[in-house]
Symmetry: C2
Subunit: 175 residues, 2 copies
């Protein structure tokens, strides 16, 4: 484990694991965006992380027990990254980060609707979401239909905001 351990304080140790600019962004994209491949995380993410930083952080998060990596059976070149239980239990922290950011920072409406819905849903919603992530990443059993998952709820909220704010609403400007 490549952490300093400057002190045994739990907050300090948590920050030694993910207290950098990029680790929680990667985990956010995996948790909320369902991203699991390198190129998704590199090119289909809004903050434009650098490829060497992405590679470094993925490796580090694996070494620290937050992620695992396997060959993707559907594509010879692709690696698929999975969250461990250690990472999945970060959902409440990410929910709180989102809620705090909504209050104090210049968020965009499209990108903050998920945080709003998570805050409204509270801990029961977060628990349900973590169970879904366990199913998806760890193979645990799940009885939630795919269109009733928390991620589907969050995505529907996002799409509703996007549709409401679409330019030229009411004009047919082509697909």
């Amino acid at each position: 484990m490549s952490i300093d351990r400057r002190s045994g304080c739990p907050i300090n140790l948590s920050l030694e694991v993910f207290g950098d600019r990029w680790s929680l962004i990667i985990l956010r994209d995996m948790i909320f965006g369902g991203k699991r491949h390198f190129r998704d995380l590199l090119n289909r993410s809004l903050e434009r992380i650098a490829s060497n930083i992405l590679a470094d952080r993925l490796k580090r998060l694996m070494e620290l027990g937050m992620l695992t990596r396997a060959d993707d059976p559907t594509h010879k070149q692709k690696a698929i990254y999975s969250l461990t239980e250690m990472a999945i239990t970060l959902v409440p922290i990410l929910a709180h980060l989102g809620a705090w950011g909504r209050v104090w920072l210049p968020v965009s409406e499209e990108l903050s609707i998920r945080a709003e819905l998570l805050e409204k849903g509270g801990p029961p919603m977060w628990e349900k979401f973590m169970d879904e992530l366990r199913h998806e990443h760890l193979g645990t059993p799940s009885d939630t239909p795919p269109d009733a998952t928390v991620r589907a709820t969050l995505q529907a909220g996002y799409e509703a905001v996007v549709a409401r704010k679409a330019p030229g609403a009411g004009c047919d400007v082509g697909a």
Copy 2:
């Protein structure tokens, strides 16, 4: 405001404010340790932050609206830093960071008892603590006696663990 704004996502924006190794450590020491002077934060903190980093982060947190700075009326050279409401509302995030760290990382018992008590106390305890911080840093009225504050509770828990684990307990080795 010197943030990138790489995206309008609230999690990203929160991390642009305090997603570095040191900002939340400084805020932790102010919130939980009652530290408000440069030397306290520099020399009486376990993680040994470098002085140029401390100066830089304090300046940045002030610019971002998390802290204010005033001359300390009790000492001509001392500056006293105060938390703003923006910073005070980080208490739940810090509580969750502590709880997560206790589960997954090699914490020390002395330094994690505060996190344990906060987790047990839950949101009502956090709200009470934030009110106390408002009183201490923003001058709002408070009706909590000094020995019944959340910080006093946390400190008593810490001291109980330290006394229980003291070497040579039962020997009088001098003051």
